[in-house]
């Protein structure tokens, strides 16, 4: 079995038809991890016992001729911000380096109920704060397509694992672009569903109104299969939407002829790399040949998305990260003699620089005298951004943009300039703020053979349309 050719369906079929076993598939992936991951750094923790137990269960079903569930035997990676019972979960942080959750995230539980074999926890920027996976407290991730470059972030480990065939599919999380941007940097498919489409129960919270869980995969169809499996109302997450889950896979092959696709000039301005622009424009031409009607739309508040995002996300983060106090489950600094010293030193020693910076910014934005000027103002701008999309979606069914202004940059290139790093998210944060779904699909390479991503944005709960367009493009390209 060629690992590079594996998709969910081909892996599952091979196990069902007894051409291979779930155990063999897991072992093949672990061998590959042993061989390649020293250089890449995609995984933080491997959970072989759990994986082999699940693989055994699936193999018994196959041996008895029982039909396997949709992800039966499929090896998957889980970003280390999602809790997995009995398996260390760190959120990429020293403050949780010994945390072993007593429960599973709903998304993980649903994947395993569908037969997936969880290989391990993938590396990420600390508390999902970053765009390059250089902020992991443990080690950075290297882009499998060029080891001197970043895989993107914060789901860099998940993207790299899929790109390097160290998992067939992986789960990531997206708050400002953290599924889509690493997908575009590593040349894989990354889907961020509508806010509330997938339960956040078990996701270690960064910004509660912006966090999303979604798949990274080799094909659009695989991301549709995963979405179908993990989506749906969960009573454990009151923000999870009570909206029926369509048959995303069944809808994929519907024709795209006649669909209206919008192109927003605000996403094609200064700062966009020429090679990326060229690749995305070619992709838009390809959509035209497939019968899509391309028309201009305007999203005038786009330039205000990054400042609004960095106020809202950091404010919410400062609140969510207050729980890491050294009392119940996180790192406690040794030798502390008072409660206050315990809080202050544990957090100082346990959190990395970027996390501290964002906690400080968020705390400042919420503090007395500044709340109105910063946090409240940002929330109002968020309304304006959402109205931009609602207006555009009255005219078009989907909007296409580049996923990122550049291809993967080099390790260390932006790590000294926080603001430069934040600006890498310029095309992705808008979808998080508005709660709409977005997918990144590979659409070419730079002269240096670095992947370029095409982003397709859709209406709330209309993942079916963006998947359809992405699938049609992928099949034609």
């Amino acid at each position: 079995m060629e690992l590079t050719q594996l998709t969910i369906d081909s892996a599952r079929a091979a196990v069902q038809e007894r051409k291979t076993t779930a155990l063999a598939l897991a072992e093949m992936h672990y061998s590959r991890i042993l061989k390649e991951d020293g250089e890449i750094g995609a995984y933080l923790t491997l959970c072989k016992e759990r994986a082999l137990e699940q693989a055994g269960r699936i193999d018994r079903m196959a041996a008895e001729g029982k039909p396997l569930p949709p992800l039966g035997g499929v090896p998957v990676g889980i970003k280390d911000v999602m809790s997995t019972r009995g398996v260390r979960t760190t959120a990429g942080s020293k403050i949780l380096s010994h945390y072993v959750p007593p429960y599973d995230s709903t998304a993980v539980a649903r994947l395993e109920a569908a037969g997936a074999v969880v290989l391990g926890k993938t590396n990420c920027d600390e508390f999902a704060m970053g765009s390059s996976n250089e902020n992991s407290a443990f080690h950075p991730v290297h882009n499998p397509r060029d080891l001197s470059r970043v895989p993107g972030g914060s789901s860099g480990g998940s993207a790299a694992a899929v790109a390097a065939d160290m998992a067939v599919v992986a789960l990531g999380s997206d708050t400002g672009g953290s599924i889509r941007q690493p997908a575009s940097f590593c040349g894989v498919v990354g889907l961020m569903p509508t806010y509330g489409r997938v339960s956040r129960y078990g996701l270690i919270a960064f910004a509660s109104s912006l966090d999303h869980i979604g798949p990274l995969a080799k094909t659009v169809k695989d991301s549709a299969i995963v979405l179908r499996t993990i989506a749906g109302r969960d009573p454990m997450d009151s923000t999870s939407a009570d909206v029926p889950v369509p048959d995303y896979v069944g809808e994929l092959e519907k024709p795209v002829r006649g669909l209206k696709v919008g192109v927003a000039k605000e996403y094609f301005g200064d700062g966009l790399d020429d090679e990326v622009r060229h690749a995305v424009e070619s992709a838009i031409d390809k959509l035209k040949t497939l019968g899509c009607e391309v028309e201009p739309v305007s999203l005038p508040h786009t330039p205000y998305a990054i400042p609004a995002y960095y106020l809202i996300a950091t404010a919410e983060a400062s609140s969510n990260l207050a729980r890491y106090d050294g009392v119940r489950y996180s790192y406690r600094a040794p030798g502390v003699t008072s409660l206050s010293e315990m809080y202050r030193r544990s957090r100082e020693e346990g959190f990395g620089a970027e996390v501290k910076r964002r906690i400080m910014l968020g705390t400042y934005a919420l503090s007395a005298g500044y709340y109105d000027a910063y946090y409240l103002k940002a929330q109002k701008v968020r309304t304006l951004l959402t109205r931009d999309f609602e207006g555009a979606f009255r005219k078009v069914d989907a909007i296409v943009t580049p996923t990122s202004p550049t291809a993967a940059f080099r390790l260390g290139e932006k790590s000294n300039d926080p603001l430069a790093m934040y600006l890498a998210d310029i095309y992705t944060v808008t979808a998080d703020l508005a709660g709409i779904p977005g997918i990144s699909v590979p659409c070419g390479e730079t002269r240096e053979k670095l992947p370029i991503g095409l982003q397709i944005l859709g209406k709330h709960f209309d993942e079916a349309t963006i998947l359809r367009v992405a699938h049609a493009y992928e099949q034609a390209a």
Partner: protein, 112 residues
């Protein structure tokens, strides 16, 4: 410069972070640079715009009802049988840096 070292010390206090002197100096720089960039939000007139705390305000909410009834989708019935089992005590204490089998143990709370 908007943010001073005094501001940084105050905010670090609020956030329970024991920053070193170098970190404080770095924070003054970084916060000012970021807040400078954020200033551009003031180019927008938002005097008649409602703030948006979260997108899911818009779906699930039952607009035909009043007050907290609007959020009934997030509630369960008020019956003991509706309670989910909580974590057993030993499990809840497992990750504690210091516990005595019943409680989480921390340094003295009252300092005087």
């Amino acid at each position: 410069m908007k943010v001073t070292e005094k501001d940084v010390a105050y905010v670090a206090d609020l956030a329970n972070l024991e920053l070193s002197r170098e970190e404080r100096a770095g924070m003054v720089r970084d916060l000012n640079s970021i807040l400078d960039y954020i200033e551009r939000l003031n180019e927008l007139d938002t005097s008649h715009v409602e703030p948006m705390a979260q997108i899911s305000d818009r779906y699930g909410v039952d607009e035909s009802r009043q007050g907290s009834e609007r959020f009934s989708y997030a509630n369960r019935d008020d019956i003991p049988e509706g309670l989910r089992k909580s974590l057993p005590q030993e499990v809840a204490l497992e990750n504690a840096p210091d516990a005595d089998g019943t409680f989480f143990r921390v340094p003295k709370v009252i300092e005087r």
